[in-house]
């Protein structure tokens, strides 16, 4: 299993925010947490799942559902003025004209999107 160190730090941050939001609203239990993770955010979903279990233990979010919305990476070609999908890396080749692009329009998201609580 890949090292979850990076993901543990991110989940800690997520849980702190979740518990803060829950407390602000007087919620007693967190039912579901939705994260938005870009495919190029550098985060392993397996490690995230593991980290989630670890950091929610003994909190009101223990046992909550973790939903992950994958955001596919899309780069932008300045010549074609069009977006195209990409899998990895930092330099992307436009499939239409072959020009190199470094402009990523989406794919690096790492955010807390939604919390369901009671």
């Amino acid at each position: 299993m890949p090292s979850p160190m990076h993901e543990l730090g991110i989940m800690e941050s997520a849980i702190n925010t979740v518990l803060e939001q829950a407390s602000l609203r007087g919620a007693k239990k967190v039912i579901r947490i939705v994260l938005r993770i870009g495919s190029l955010a550098g985060v392993e979903p397996d490690s995230l799942r593991f980290a989630f279990d670890v950091v929610t233990r003994s909190t009101i979010a223990e046992g909550a559902l973790l939903e992950i919305c994958d955001v596919p990476a899309r780069a932008y070609c300045r010549s074609c003025k069009e977006e195209f999908g990409v899998d990895s890396g930092f330099i992307f080749t436009c499939p239409t004209c072959g020009e190199l692009s470094g402009q990523l329009h989406q794919g690096k998201e790492l955010e807390l999107k939604q919390i369901e609580m009671a």
């Binding site: 239990k29 046992g63 890396g89 939604q114």
Partner: protein, 279 residues
């Protein structure tokens, strides 16, 4: 509880203009595959049922769903933001100098502290795995310098910088130079809280370095092409290097310099001053 053997479901959904797949990670046995709901009791405990438990009556609490878009930061990012806030509050322009080992960071800083540092009050944090050689080279009566030895870490992290700040005298300091560990890879992923990231590429390296190390170049605010005084002797093509830098780092200000001959140093100092004014 419902947490063993998690397996993903994939649903295609379209929200706004972005297509994404939703993986629902939760565990339940196949017998419950028809669906399930969470029931929450007044005392805050909750458990889940499947649809076949209709006759199980008890008070249900309505759940609330809150939509957010809060970015998740890991520990380094949080401390980096704290550093950033500190610099902003004190009116200090912080620069993070990164490069391959031997590209000329320390030599450039020596020159910078002697010339620019005489007009503007500066301080330095320098990172290396071992020795305080660089720290000692940079020591000057008018500049507060602290050496960070990481031991084995190949890059500086925000927490090290935060600790390093305790070791220097920041009174009246306008510019803080942070000399990172020589490394073109890892520093790219570690925000130190700096205002400007300065990447050095020397004429003793290959012209295609930017193509081989995109992350660090893409994160640069300023790229310095150093040791231009020896480029000709080495058959190094400044033109090609500049092309590659502009290809990978079009967002960065590019300045060609030589610490030994002095070429371009005025432009480097002017750039720092311009950013200082904008603070």
């Amino acid at each position: 509880m419902c947490k063993d053997n998690p397996h993903p479901h994939v649903h295609e959904e379209v929200e706004e203009d972005i297509e994404y797949a939703v993986h629902v990670m939760h565990g339940h046995d196949d017998a419950h595959s028809k669906g399930h709901g969470w029931h929450v009791h007044e005392d805050g405990t909750a458990h889940c049922h499947d649809d076949s438990h209709e006759e199980h009556h008890h008070d249900e609490i309505k759940t609330r769903t809150v939509d957010l878009a809060i970015p998740l930061l890991d520990k380094n990012d949080r401390i980096a933001e704290r550093n950033r806030g500190f610099f902003r509050g004190k009116g200090i322009l912080a620069l993070n100098l990164v490069s391959s080992p031997g590209a000329g960071k320390t030599t450039l800083l020596e020159k910078t502290l002697d010339e620019f540092g005489k007009q503007v009050k500066t301080a330095v944090l320098v990172g290396d795995l071992e020795t305080d050689n660089d720290g000692r080279r940079l020591q000057r009566p008018h500049v507060s310098v602290a050496q960070i030895t990481t031991g084995s870490a190949c890059h500086l992290e925000a927490e090290m910088v935060a600790k390093g700040l305790d070791a220097i005298d920041l009174n009246g300091v306008k510019v803080l130079f942070i000399e990172n560990v020589g490394n073109l890879v890892c520093p790219a992923s570690f925000d130190l809280g700096e205002k400007l990231r300065v990447v050095l590429l020397s004429c003793t390296e290959g012209e295609d370095k930017p193509l081989k190390y995109p992350p660090i170049f893409k994160s640069a605010d300023i790229v310095l092409l150093t040791k231009v005084d020896v480029a000709d002797v080495l058959g190094f093509s400044r033109k090609l290097a500049v092309e590659n830098i502009k290809k990978i780092a079009p967002q960065a200000q590019l300045i060609e310099v030589s610490s030994r001959s002095g070429e371009g140093l005025k432009s480097w100092y002017d750039a720092i001053n311009k950013h200082l004014e904008k603070l």
